[in-house]
Amino acid sequence: MAQEKIGGEFGAGILNKKSLTPENTTYRIISKSVSEYHFIVPFDLPDAERVEVGQIFSVKDYDQSSSRKLTFLARVLDVQHGSNYDGNWDTTIKGTQFFDRDQIFNRVIAEPLGCVRDGSFRKSRTIPTKFSPVSRAEQEEFQFLRQVMGDIEIGYLRNGSRLVEEIPVALHSDSMDHHMGVFATTGMGKSNFMKVFAASCMRLAARGKSKFGLLIVDPHGEYILGEGRKGTKGLVHLSRYSSSLACYSTDYKNCQMPQVEEFSISFSEIKPEDVALLYNWSPPQMDALEAISRTFDSDNWLDEIQDGEGLARMVREGFKESTIQVLVRRIKNLLEKNAYIKKRSSLPNILANLQNGNVVLVDIPRMSDRAELFLLSVLSRYVLEEYKKEASDGRKNCLITIEEAQRVLGQGSNTSRFESIAREGRKFGVGLCAITQQPKLIEKQLLSQFNTLVVMGLGDRNDRLQLEESAKQDLKSLDIEIQTLEKGEAVISTLGIPFPVPVSVHKYEHYLEHLKAEKAPEESLTSGPGFKPFLE
């Protein structure tokens, strides 16, 4: 009985043995709490067996006789030097040999991911029995992680620096009306990630399983065709699912492609508050802008204010003529510079595509920062207003991506429209996907509304702190992991997956090949060779 208390079978083994080998102490859980597991490993492991940050280990809490049959999965957070000596033994010279190989080791600190009980994976609320054996997780154990993955495939699970190709990491489309944040410094593979994400959404939509429409406004012109000089490809190249992609462009050359519609918005869709974004206005000018909506017909104000009668009306409202002239001049400027403002509008088509759950790409290369903000403002206001109307049958939610989101979601920015989407969009099924290099500039309160975070390498400590404070899952423990992320690697924290996942994001070009070759699930049953009539 006494032996049982010390540690079950293993304890008995210790007491019965005369000499112990390192195998008896290494790779066994020794401490310490429900939120942190420690075990030790030999200090001089060969390279192939080295323990790395991010690796996943399994802890088998088995007992032949009793009913203990849990498998815990834990991920390495840190590896430290450790020994059983006190003091400065490793720098003190005494005799011929200053340490005994058995007494020194590496201490591995791991965080629990969850435990497998009766074949299903869940959060762990207990601690593995002391001295439970620890081993590298095998395929079989990884399979349990499959259960928690969603339907939008992003990449493969990363186990240290190795890939687990059997476990694709996939976000849950159910949680996409909640906001999403993509955080990465330049060159970490942000646009690659977005393309993979969009491709997975297209695949879902083409199979009729899409739950939301994705709106991507691309100011760099890199999503539509990729960047030729770098040999990357674009969304248009995923021809297999082209039916679920709608492209709009302001670029004449891109508009030549059959699937690309010329982007345009109509005069009546522009509101004074959109114009407010374009310039720095003085307080009287701002007042005048605000007065426009109550002075003129909202569908026709752009025309009305430009003629003499409009000017006179504004003057009657008590504004100085010079103020109004500045306003009119800037409006004329706006209309001249932005050739996509026309009589017809692409917005109803964009909306219909979003509501059908398709991916909508608005390609606006070579546009100034302000012009881009203006366009984004018109577009997102239109979408939000339409979604506020009563939902029709089968309407899908939508997710609006915003590049360089710190411009519009930062503290003190005058673009309350985006903030209002962030705050109230969810009620109407409109989510934001904010892409930024500097999460520290985004207002904390807004950041805390983001339920999916994709972190792709953030060197700045303040950026990481900001994220850790507002993330729904504890990212603090992954601080080292995030610092050591390489290009194309990410840590994803999202609803539906109970722990932050390290991912190696698919390279878009490879994923494209994979999607093209993939067999459709229903192929065997319904789609035979297509009908081609006899042509005499």
Partner: protein
């Protein structure tokens, strides 16, 4: 260069069960007459070419009569020195192995150019290139076929299908034969579209000419006819072929009206002179069921004897509340099917193991059937 753009002649369409003195369907005869009138009109306009943007025939296998009417029309046009360009539409393109295209009969006729092979074809007339994309079986194929176009500098595009912006406006979402707006490129001198039966401009340079005839009451508000297009400046002028013969009267509020009063309203609206050769619909709002029932049905049908079709549509005053209380549960056919299977499987009539497979297969088949049905919604039983 000047062209005339027409579409959706639907030769062979018959309906409304009214026969003329020879026992022929009056609606069908009207459609033939309309086509003949259109040909006459075209000849009088003296264009350099005619474009028919799909759905010449209402059926894939037209009867002899529509074939003859069409051949006669073609002959008259070409005799007048007007070349004709035709594409097949969703109604007259075969969708099964059992039928061949009716257009095979007209291939090889002098000055007649037909695109009906589910693939892009180009016809050069004068200094213009006519790029024709006929009916294709899959939506993706339109993009592919469009990709084959090489611009000549003076280009006309001819297609058949509903462009998405028009679909969005009309809130028709299921099973339509759809063309992406992205195909309506600015650099074409003109884009001639068919499928939608009203005259409509859908882009700066893209028009639906509409059909010549009114086929159903959904079209009552549409303008019909031909378009005479000057390719030099892109101007398209509407040309009327015959006066409108469809009247959809605004609803008459009949609350509190007696049988006699209702009868009087109907008599007034159905003056024999006014209804001759017309398609008429009269909607009566808030009618008392009892009062309407007492109207003599024989006399009522005699009222519309001169018309091609007279439809009196009563909306009873007791119906509205019923509707308010219990809105009908409308599910898609697929959803109904899946629900039915779950119910059957719960009661043990279908093995759970195969339920999912059956549901998947069945839903896919239903989806295809619905799509096929909706594309041929105008098809009368043959």
């Amino acid at each position: 260069m000047k062209i005339v753009h027409l579409a959706d002649s639907h030769l062979g369409f018959s309906g409304y069960n009214r026969l003329d003195e020879h026992g022929r369907n009056r609606m069908e005869e009207r459609v033939y007459e309309g086509f003949d009138l259109a040909v006459e009109k075209i000849i009088s306009l003296r264009p350099d070419a005619v474009v028919h943007a799909g759905d010449v025939f209402h059926h894939v296998r037209p009867k002899i009569r529509p074939l003859v009417v069409f051949q006669r029309g073609l002959q008259r046009l070409t005799d007048a020195g007007i070349p004709v360009i035709i594409i097949s539409g969703n109604h007259d393109a075969p969708k099964s192995f059992s039928s061949s295209s009716p257009f095979l009969l007209f291939e090889g006729m002098k000055d007649v150019h037909i695109a009906q092979r589910y693939a892009y074809e180009r016809f050069d007339l004068d200094d213009h290139a006519f790029h024709c994309i006929p009916f294709c079986l899959e939506p993706d194929e339109y993009l592919q076929e469009f990709g084959k176009i090489e611009r000549s500098g003076r280009d006309v595009l001819v297609m058949h299908g509903l462009v998405e912006s028009l679909r969005n406006k009309r809130l028709r979402t299921v099973g339509e034969h759809e063309l992406k707006d992205s195909l309506l490129k600015r650099d074409f001198d003109y884009i001639a579209l068919g499928h939608f039966h009203g005259q409509a401009r859908v882009a700066e340079n893209a028009w639906y000419s509409g059909s010549v005839e009114y086929f159903n009451f959904g079209e009552a508000g549409d303008q019909k006819g031909l378009l005479s297009v000057d390719l030099e400046d892109g101007e398209a002028l509407s040309v009327e072929v015959r006066p409108k013969n469809m009247i959809d009267h605004p609803p008459v509020d009949c609350s509190g009206l007696s049988t006699e009063a209702i009868a009087e309203v109907l008599m007034e609206l159905c003056d024999p002179q006014a209804v001759r050769d017309k398609l008429i619909r009269i909607t009566l709002r808030n009618v008392s069921r009892a009062a309407f029932r007492r109207i003599d049905q024989v006399k009522l049908s005699r009222l519309g004897a001169e018309a091609i079709y007279l439809k009196v549509r009563p909306e009873f005053d007791d119906e509205k509340e019923e509707r308010m209380e219990r809105p009908a549960d409308r599910f898609s056919l697929q959803q109904e099917f899946v629900d039915y299977l779950s119910q059957e499987s719960r009661e043990g009539r279908i093995a759970e193991a195969i339920r999912k497979e059956v549901a998947g297969y069945g839903s896919a088949v239903l989806e295809k059937a619905v799509a096929a049905k909706n594309t041929e919604v105008l098809d009368a039983p043959q």
